[in-house]
């Protein structure tokens, strides 16, 4: 196993936002700031000590408020000298008098400010940092950084090379968990480091022209199964996340889940050319001295202490390398071949359930053209799809169309748009296949299986392949054994699905396959207006089109070369093409089922391999 790269990041927050509401409950607003300031600094010092005691180098992300605190500045300077810690600059810590007086607001999330304010704040905080340290930082951080913000930081302070720029899948699920009061709405980004494009910070750059100039890292390394189905803040490499999720033994205070999470991330090197990554970024509010989440400070301390020790032990065993954020940025560009001009190396993660006791397995794939999740529990169905190929410009913050909603839109999202199972009527988003025989029909979504990963060069192009274990589809008189392969060619912006009928108990039986995608678009659980989406089906001689009006119309063409949807609202085109011999079809939805469907149907026989491609493109 290769060495995993680790970033440990701490920030001296003087009044952490989540501490203020816990410690300060029942106190007049503003009266707790002095108390919290001392406590927060103490916790920051403890975090630094625990990392250093375990031989780990840190990146200190100075917050706005901490730049006005002489002790915090002195600690950073000392730890930089003594341990080689990097001193970076967080776009956090705006809950202080200096900020409130200047900007006349209680807002504290940098991505929600107007672009004018973002620029002013960045200028203020970077210049204040220079005043304190005599140099400009090379790394920065926030829960989310939109493209305009990153582009401005890079333009004004070009030495910045690394930024914490998203919290993976912290969107409507986290909002819901927090009683609809925590406005971190940014689903749809990468779970592992990436180079944000200049157009949309979620979507990785496809080339030098799109390269924003920084390496972005997600805030924590999160459970790729549990976070997709639950609160992001319960299932990450933040030891206190595990306590917030109640994932520990109340009698022994043991929490093996944390170590399983770290180790599963280490195992991802098998799918990423020997590269694995973790980060831990914990604000002091999570180690509140009053205790949090049913447990006293002692358990909060224990979890952080043992988390640092685990990473430290891995380092001592030669299994981990700790880096500062800026060191990591250089490493990443080299490891991912960006320094050779290749921006297309994908991030892959074949991920298993390590918490709920199931055998569920997902495969996540991310490159400059898409983020995709395949669910082996549903026969390899594509259950989440973000069409990065569109590089959708989506400004966020006050004065834009999206004050809070910074998510990258989906075409498929099984949790927000039902997936295979719907209640009583309509359809949900999914890319799967149905097999039918003599009036019976079975969807692969009901055929749970597992997959293995491999890498091959096909026609000189690097290709990642997911090969699923065969599944049996039992009809009344015939059983067919089907194997699926999902093939992802580097830099192609398409996904190839192969279905192979390995065996049939009755080769004379007429078996049909229907390869389909049911999709829509959105960023939340609620439907968007589908009017104006253009559906088309083409063959060599003919072309048919439906412009979406909720009339549930459909069109078919034999030997169609392409079935396509263009979604103007997200400037995205999605199409399917086939290896041959199938009828192509398009279907419009209706108001109770605001979806569209594209697909190919054909008869398939034993030994035959039928291939279809799902293709993504920008369409405006």
């Amino acid at each position: 196993m290769s060495k995993m790269i680790l970033n440990v990041i701490h920030r001296p927050e003087m009044t952490p936002e989540y501490s203020a509401t816990v410690t300060g409950q029942g106190k007049e607003e503003g009266s707790m700031e002095k108390v919290l300031e001392k406590e927060s600094l103490d916790i920051f010092k403890t975090q630094q000590r625990l990392a250093h005691e375990n031989g780990l180098k840190c990146t200190i992300q100075m917050t706005y408020a901490s730049l006005f605190n002489e002790e915090a500045v002195a600690i950073a300077k000392e730890d930089h000298e003594k341990y080689g810690d990097e001193i970076g600059l967080a776009l956090y810590g705006f809950q202080c008098e200096a900020f409130k007086n200047k900007y006349k607001t209680k807002d504290f999330c940098i991505w929600m400010f107007s672009l004018e304010d973002k620029k002013a704040i960045v200028h203020d905080i970077f210049e204040k940092f220079f005043e304190c340290f005599g140099f400009y930082p090379t790394s920065t951080s926030a829960y989310f950084m939109d493209a305009d913000l990153i582009n401005y930081v890079k333009e004004a302070y070009p030495q910045v090379v690394c930024a914490v720029a998203t919290c993976w899948e912290e969107g409507p699920k986290a909002y819901h968990t927090c009683n609809n009061s925590w406005y971190t709405l940014f689903d749809g980004g990468p779970w592992a480091p990436w180079i944000p494009s200049k157009q949309n910070s979620h979507a990785p750059a496809a080339n030098k022209e799109e390269d924003s100039g920084i390496v972005a890292i997600p805030h924590l390394s999160r459970d790729l199964l549990a976070c997709y189905d639950g609160n992001g803040s319960n299932f990450g490499t933040h030891p206190q996340n595990v306590l917030r999720g109640m994932i520990y033994d109340t009698k022994t205070w043991e929490f093996p889940y944390f170590y399983n999470l770290v180790d599963q991330y280490r195992a991802l090197e098998k799918y990423n050319d020997g590269y694995a990554y973790n980060m831990m970024y914990v604000g002091p509010g999570w180690m509140n001295k009053m205790g949090r989440w049913e447990q006293p400070y002692e358990l909060l301390y224990k979890s952080y202490s043992e988390g640092c020790k685990y990473y430290g032990d891995l380092k001592k065993q030669g299994k981990l390398v700790d880096m500062t954020m800026s060191e990591f940025a250089s490493f990443y560009r080299e490891k991912k071949e960006v320094t050779k001009g290749n921006y297309n190396v994908p991030e892959c993660a074949l991920w298993r359930d390590i918490l709920y006791g199931s055998d569920k397995q997902l495969f996540w794939y991310c490159d400059p053209y898409m983020r995709a999740c395949f669910n082996m529990d549903q026969g390899g169905a594509l259950v989440d799809l973000r069409p990065y190929a569109a590089k959708l410009e989506w400004p966020v913050g006050i004065g834009t169309k999206h004050v809070q909603d910074a998510s990258y839109p989906f075409l498929i999202q099984e949790k927000y748009r039902a997936g295979y199972f719907t209640h009583y009527a309509g359809a949900g988003t999914v890319r799967s296949a149905k097999f039918s025989c003599e009036g019976e029909e079975v969807d692969l979504c009901l055929c749970p299986t597992h997959a293995r990963f491999s890498e091959e060069k096909i026609d000189g192009k690097k290709t990642r392949i997911l090969t699923l274990n065969p599944v049996d589809i039992e009809f009344a008189k015939t059983t067919v054994t089907v194997q699926t392969r999902i093939i992802l060619e580097e830099g192609s912006s398409n996904i190839k699905f192969e279905r192979n009928i390995l065996k049939s108990t009755n080769p004379e039986a007429k078996v049909y396959v229907d390869e389909y995608i049911t999709a829509c678009y959105g960023t939340t659980e609620y439907p968007e207006d589908m009017m104006g989406i253009r559906l088309s089906v083409n063959n060599e001689n003919e072309s048919k089109e439906i412009v979406y009006e909720y009339h549930n119309r459909d069109e078919h063409l034999q030997n169609a070369s392409v079935v396509k949807a263009v979604i103007p609202a997200i400037e995205t085109g999605v199409s399917m093409t086939q290896s041959g011999g199938a009828e192509g079809y398009i279907e419009e939805g209706y108001a109770f089922s605001p979806m569209f469907k594209l697909g190919f149907k054909k008869q398939i026989v034993e030994g035959e391999v039928f291939a279809t491609w799902l293709n993504l493109q920008k369409a405006n």
């Binding site: 968990t177 009683n179 033994d249 599963q264 918490l355 006791g357």
Partner: protein, 71 residues
Amino acid sequence: MAQLAKGKLNYRCPSCFMRDYDIDMFYDKDTKIYRCIRCQFRGDEKKVLEWNEMVRKRYGDMYTRFTNFEF
């Protein structure tokens, strides 16, 4: 009855937690009962702790230490 306040250990509502809501409860010092102000859960410390164990039921592998991540 006097006003409710935060309890000493920031107990959350186990009933809400089971439906993915992370909601702090408030404490009635006279009756020693924790109350959720979002739902109908009320309980003393013993009941809260018992229900928290029910929350953990869904974590079937909470005590398992994995060494293999493939099938």
